[in-house]
């Protein structure tokens, strides 16, 4: 690849190099934060509990990191939660309980912000979302309760394994812009889960319907539990199930998934909030950082190369997933 001559080969090499530089820089920032946290904790222990770091350093660092994550999330086509929890949980000195509570609220805020536009444009479908949301939000409550009851090292180990699984899905999963649904199943027919939307790229209206609804709803039980347990947004799972299993067009799947998070994450977030696992000092800078980053990300998206960014996000997630796994196994504390 690097030796290939000709314009396309050289451009490809530069893109790979840029991605590597950005990923390594972000990894270096995260490792530095983690090392700084450990060092200040060591000094604080020795000096009988007084903190050596001004309190505002951590929320400021959080804001900067989540701003970058917000940009990457938009460019990489992932939700904020899936990046937030493993990276903040792995490299900041906050307990995983508070990180998960914040992660759910971050994903919720993003979904609430995007929801109105997606619903009005008829890209997010209420008819598709409501039955799915009922299943997923109920399961998310169970997941949140299980997650808060588990020991942190168990949570980190399972989180790490889940993130690595997500990476595998992102690398291998295909997408189908307009799946062929020959015949809707009985459940989707009785619930009238179908719709029509304007596909601007083709300049025409697309009618859609879904199939395998019972199987999809069963999978949303698992998705809901995982979302609640790990504080992840679950968009990474919603889209493949809606698109590849149930046959909703890709744009409908992505938009409905984003809207769906606003309901699923609400139920889990309340459990964390009521258990005192929400700290404003972590939540607010994170929400503001990710939302501002997302706005910048949308502007950059026009010029960015989606595939290159996607690989950047995949490498970051791989790093963060390994970190969580090794932290849980107490190999990399």
């Amino acid at each position: 690849m690097f030796m290939r001559q000709g314009g396309n080969g050289l451009i490809h090499s530069r893109e790979v190099l840029k991605i590597l530089i950005v990923v390594l820089t972000i990894m270096a920032i995260c490792v530095s934060i983690s090392a700084f946290a450990s060092e200040t904790q060591e000094v604080a222990k020795e000096t009988a509990s007084a903190s050596t770091t001004p309190w505002w350093v951590w929320p400021l660092a959080l804001f900067v990191v989540t701003f970058i994550l917000g940009i990457l999330a938009v460019l990489g086509g992932v939700g904020g939660g899936v990046l937030f929890v493993p990276i903040i949980g792995g490299f900041f000195p906050f307990n995983i309980d508070f990180v998960r509570g914040a992660g759910l609220l971050v994903a919720l805020a993003g979904a609430l912000a995007a929801g109105p536009g997606l619903l009005r444009r008829n890209l997010a479908s209420l008819r598709l979302a409501l039955p799915v949301a009922l299943i997923a939000s109920s399961a998310a409550i169970v997941g949140a309760m299980i997650g808060l009851a588990l020991k942190p090292n168990v949570v980190n180990t399972l989180l790490g394994a889940t993130i690595l699984f997500i990476v595998a899905i992102m690398v291998t999963a295909k997408k189908s812009d307009f799946p062929n649904v020959a015949k809707p199943d009985n459940l989707s027919q009785s619930l009238h889960i179908m719709g029509i939307y304007r596909e601007e790229s083709l300049g025409k209206d697309i009618e859609w319907q879904v199939h395998r609804t019972p199987q999809g709803l069963a999978l949303f039980i698992v998705i809901g539990v995982m979302a609640g347990m790990f504080g992840l947004g679950a968009g990474w799972a919603n889209v493949p199930v809606l698109n590849l299993l149930m046959g909703a067009p890709l744009k409908i799947s992505v938009a409905t998934s984003k809207f769906l998070l606003s309901i699923t994450d609400t139920s889990a977030a309340w459990v964390y909030l009521n258990q005192g696992a929400v700290l404003p000092m972590i939540v607010v800078p994170s929400i503001v950082g990710i939302m501002l980053g997302s706005m910048v990300g949308v502007k950059i998206l026009v010029k960015a190369k989606p595939k290159a960014i996607k690989w950047m996000v995949i490498w970051l997630l791989l790093f963060a997933g390994l970190r969580a796994l090794l932290k849980g196994l107490e190999i990399w504390k």
Partner: protein
Amino acid sequence: MENKPKASEEQLAYAGVLNIGMWIGLFLLVVTFIVYISGVLPSYVPIEKLSEIPQGSNVPYWGMRAHEFNQAFNVPTGWGWIRLAGKGDYLNFVGIAMLGGLSILCYLVILPILMKKKDTSYVVIATLEVAVLLLAASGILKAGGH
């Protein structure tokens, strides 16, 4: 002029309430956070304490498990935060609760529309969802900590 397929009445109603509520919630979140960090209102848990390591521990307060943190500072759980809403830190929960309660409000807005259309299955689904979200928000559900 081309006619684009329109979203349903309940979908537009949901979007409208969601939009207004989301902006109000975010505005409250930012304003109350400024109040918090500026110290205009004293905090229940002093800001400087969050990153401090207590005697006999090897993690800072915000590195502790949630239930340990709550015990250390005698923090109320469930809706007990309302009593502390006059404190800089717990005032932030007003905006957080607003964002958390928005979906419930949206469902309540679309219920009459669905009933008017005699869309029985979705009336049932929406009603059940309101029940699920209210249960989650109620504070009745407890999770054990280690």
